[in-house]
């Protein structure tokens, strides 16, 4: 008689939003993997239609509570691309700075509050806090530094309101950064400690030959600008995105699966960014990566936790660099003249490239919008990781296997509320 086993997780904890995992194992053979995501997915795109271009940054920022800055940055850059505007100098730096804040907040939250419990065998971060109070206090203080940047530039911590097409509503003065600078200096030291802490975690032996996709810029580690490149030959301007990527509807998920037309699934996020832009990291981050045992690329997704901490260190270091050199601009924004045009932008959200495309009429009213969040781009890669991981770990007890599968999903810090909403795991072994 055929022996079927099903592993089901109806509600995946410690992922952003909700979804479910379903695994089917028949006669010790993995026969089905489904990462299910439920949510009316394209609500925001419809919601943007007939809105003024100025509204896009604030509306899209509502898609995600964790990465509103990413949505604002992709929105403003797409609009500026459409209207032929280039934002430079201090305003450009301030945009990098606010992104630093978001990476700091998002990465440390995921690394310690959501992912570290998997490695340390705790149910959640609250249990870690009971045993390692000082560590968690420092993590929270570190995250607060990120909040502080976003609040200072964005007007408030969540759903910043100070960002606009062309720049900001109000630019900070140099002296506004005084206390932040001191906090960032502390944060830089803690980031080093954080990297050293996560580098010692036990990592499953698991590597795959991924196609990494990230922005690449000649002079800097990417946030808002650069070409879209991969380690397998992709090298395009953002405006060519739709020629190379397509979104496929799969029955089991409300979030569309994004694939490269020429090949197939691909990988976005910290590990892709790191592997494609290692040379642009500051020396302090490169040295620490080396100390943590990382090479110039990394193909073990479980080690993404180390890279998140390396990128946190980079973000703190970059924030300090920007603040040191900052001179208040004469105007907080450049003048914007709308025109009938289509604009494109990819920026590096904490979880990977976030693509926005808008078509406007001559008055700047949005006719059509397309948003591709990082999690929907990683969805197929997450399933493929499980296809590779589960057969190697099939003989473990269900609960251990389930734990590791959830951990494998959390490698991606999936933001299902962006990709859409709701994760629930099934291992079907009959």
């Amino acid at each position: 008689m055929k022996k079927t086993k099903i592993i089901k997780v109806d509600y995946l904890a410690r992922v952003e939003g909700e979804g479910a995992l379903y695994l089917k194992i028949e006669d010790k053979k993995l026969t089905d993997v489904k990462l299910k995501i439920f949510e009316p997915p394209r609500f925001f795109e419809a919601f943007l239609r007939d809105r003024d271009y100025t509204e896009a940054p604030d509306i899209t920022a509502r898609i995600c509570g964790i990465c509103p800055v990413a949505y604002q940055m992709s929105a403003v850059h797409a609009m500026e691309n459409a209207f032929g505007i280039q934002v430079t100098g201090p305003l450009r730096d301030l945009r990098r700075l606010i992104y630093c804040g978001e990476w700091i907040e998002s990465h440390i939250l995921h690394a310690f509050m959501l992912h570290a419990p998997d490695f340390l065998g705790y149910q959640d971060a609250i249990q870690i806090a009971k045993d390692h109070k000082e560590l968690i206090e420092n993590v929270l203080r570190f995250k607060k530094t990120g909040n502080e940047i976003v609040a200072l530039l964005g007007g408030r911590e969540i759903h910043p309101i100070n960002v606009k097409v062309g720049g900001f509503y109000k630019a900070p003065r140099r002296e506004d950064f005084k206390s932040l600078r001191e906090n960032l200096k502390w944060a830089r030291d803690f980031a080093v400690e954080a990297v050293r802490f996560v580098a010692k975690l036990p990592f499953p032996d698991f590597e795959r030959d991924y196609e990494f996709v990230a922005l690449q810029h000649p002079d800097e580690y990417p946030f808002n600008e650069g070409r879209v490149v991969s380690n397998k030959g992709l090298d395009i301007d953002v405006s060519q995105y739709d020629d190379h990527f397509e979104e496929q509807h799969v029955k089991h998920s409300n979030a569309l699966h994004s694939v490269l037309k020429e090949r197939d699934s691909y990988f976005v996020g910290p590990m892709a960014r790191y592997s494609l832009n290692h040379a642009q990291l500051p020396k302090i981050a490169r040295d620490l990566a080396k100390e943590a045992g990382l090479g110039k690329t990394c193909t073990n997704p479980f080690k993404s936790i180390i890279i998140r901490c390396i990128e946190s260190l980079f973000a703190v270091d970059e924030a300090l660099r920007i603040i040191e050199n900052y001179e208040m601009p004469d105007q907080p924004a450049v003048t914007v003249e709308p025109r009938a045009a289509t604009g494109y932008a990819c920026t590096e959200a904490p979880r990977g490239i976030l693509y926005h495309r808008y078509r406007m009429d001559e008055k700047g009213i949005i006719q059509d919008a397309k948003i591709v969040p990082p999690t929907s781009q990683n969805q197929k890669t997450i399933e493929n990781d499980l296809w590779a991981f589960v057969p190697e770990h099939m003989d473990q007890a269900d609960d251990k296997l389930q734990w590791q599968c959830e951990q494998a999903i959390r490698n991606y810090d999936p933001c299902i509320s962006c990709a859409t909403h709701f994760l629930k795991m099934d291992v079907d072994r009959g």
């Binding site: 904890a13 939003g17 919601f47 509050m113 609250i126 806090a129 968690i136 607060k144």
Partner: protein, 160 residues
């Protein structure tokens, strides 16, 4: 002696149907601002929430819940006395939820001396949804109950 700091925090997302309940309660309270009480609207972001709670002596927190009972039902927990039920306040789209923020604050010894949590059972949380009529009705009662609770808290203040 300084009077105690009382903060009412409404949590939610106004783009997601009944998830707006906490925000709407606070907005209604603002119409007849109770003296000496700070009214805050928050998204449920854990760190900001923990910080707000940390500087208060008494907190009344209002959020939408999805626990499976009928929409509009009002839950009340005294979270200063006991750990929150694990499934409570987990409907937030934040993975580090309001529940986690409260329990994390407890683990770190940063919970305010008094913390009352009101949960309004919702039924529609999808983006763009309208507020359900049952929640609409529950808002009125929640505002009234919180006002009563505030009277008691302020009375305790005066006694002190």
């Amino acid at each position: 002696m300084d009077s105690e700091k009382i903060i009412v925090i409404g949590i939610g997302n106004e783009f997601r149907g009944d998830d707006a309940a906490g925000l709407l309660v606070v907005r209604r309270l603002k119409k007849k601002q109770p003296a000496g009480v700070e009214l805050r609207e928050q998204s449920g972001e854990a760190i900001a929430l923990m910080e707000t709670m940390d500087r208060a002596d008494a907190v009344i927190l209002v959020d939408a819940v999805q626990s499976g009972v009928e929409a509009g039902q009002i839950h009340r927990y005294d979270a200063s006395e006991q750990a929150m039920p694990a499934q409570f306040l987990r409907c937030s789209t934040h993975n580090f939820s309001v529940h986690d923020a409260i329990e994390m604050a407890r683990a770190l010894g940063k919970l305010p001396p008094r913390l009352m949590v009101y949960g309004i059972e919702g039924s529609r949380f999808e983006p763009g949804a309208e507020l359900s009529p049952a929640v609409q009705t529950a808002l009125v009662e929640t505002v009234q109950r919180i006002n009563e609770e505030l009277q008691i808290l302020m009375g305790m203040n005066t006694d002190a």
